[in-house]
Amino acid sequence: MIINHPLLGPRDAAEFVYLGDASLIDRPDWQSDTAADDFYEYQYLRDNPAGETRELWFHEQGDRSWLVVTRNTLTHEITKVELARDVALAAGRDR
């Protein structure tokens, strides 16, 4: 599998490690009244889609960047690769 890195171009998947669903970026607010439930959901509840899914990958044997990879679990096609930093900033995080 080849992951088309947004800065470095196509790189072999062997250079990357997989973390999990991209929703891990959205860490809940620990001060919220519903924090316990929010963290339970954040930590344990995952969809298991047959189709498009967004995942976090780490370019360990490369530039050490975190990526959000949009991948289809039925066809293995990778449709989009973004820097996780850009995704987080776009979602309103400060860094």
């Binding site: 800065l7 470095l8 790189r11 072999d12 062997a14 250079e15 044997q61 490369g62 530039d63 050490r64 960047s65 820097l83 930093r85 860094r95």
Partner: protein, 189 residues
């Protein structure tokens, strides 16, 4: 107290071997210092580098040479680069920090990496068996740098010219890395 002087020993004992016109040589006289950008400090570091070295912070995959040619900056990842220069004295960080001040975060990496230079007509054919990246001049021209893995070992590869490459790998696994490169050169000799 007796005056003791410690002698540094290179990770690969100063290895050098010729394979016809192709040479595999350990580089032992270079210092390596990582420069990291403080949060929100990219512009300050960039202008400090431009003022002192006449070059801007390199993008990942590219290198920049200081205007006097003494320091090569390797762009390895967003917000971090490595400075490669001739080792003088025992404190390479000081050499960079004296110039750039507190505009960046510096870490001495010199002793953590084993460096090899593979140069000669067999360099590309030896590397293409172990390096997952395409090394054709169009894709990886002179002055390119990349971090990748060869034989499962993390490697920084720097293209000096079409048949000369600098390879850096972790000191702790340096003999295994040398074995991988040496075997590959032998296999194409």
């Amino acid at each position: 107290m007796p005056d003791l002087t410690l002698t540094a020993s290179p990770p690969l004992d100063g290895y050098h071997k010729q394979f016809g016109d192709t040479a595999l040589t350990e580089i032992g006289d270079q210092a390596l210092v990582s420069i990291a950008v403080p949060l929100g400090g990219a512009d300050a570091l960039d202008s400090a580098m431009t003022g002192a070295y006449g070059t801007t912070f390199p993008a990942p995959g590219s290198t920049a040479l200081s205007k006097d040619g003494s320091v090569r900056f390797l762009g390895l990842q967003p917000d971090q680069c490595f400075a490669l220069f001739e080792l003088a004295g025992n404190d390479p960080v000081e050499a960079i920090a004296n110039v750039l001040g507190d505009t960046g975060y510096y870490t001495d990496q010199s002793d953590s990496w084993a460096m090899l230079r593979l140069s000669g007509p067999l360099a590309v054919s030896a590397l293409e068996r172990i390096c997952p990246l395409g090394l054709a001049p169009a894709a990886f021209p002179q002055g390119s740098v990349a971090r990748t893995a060869m034989e499962h070992l993390g490697v920084i590869i720097l293209c000096e010219n079409e048949d000369s490459y600098v390879l850096m790998s972790a000191r702790s696994s340096a003999p295994s890395f040398l074995h991988a490169v040496e075997t590959s050169v032998e296999n194409v000799s």
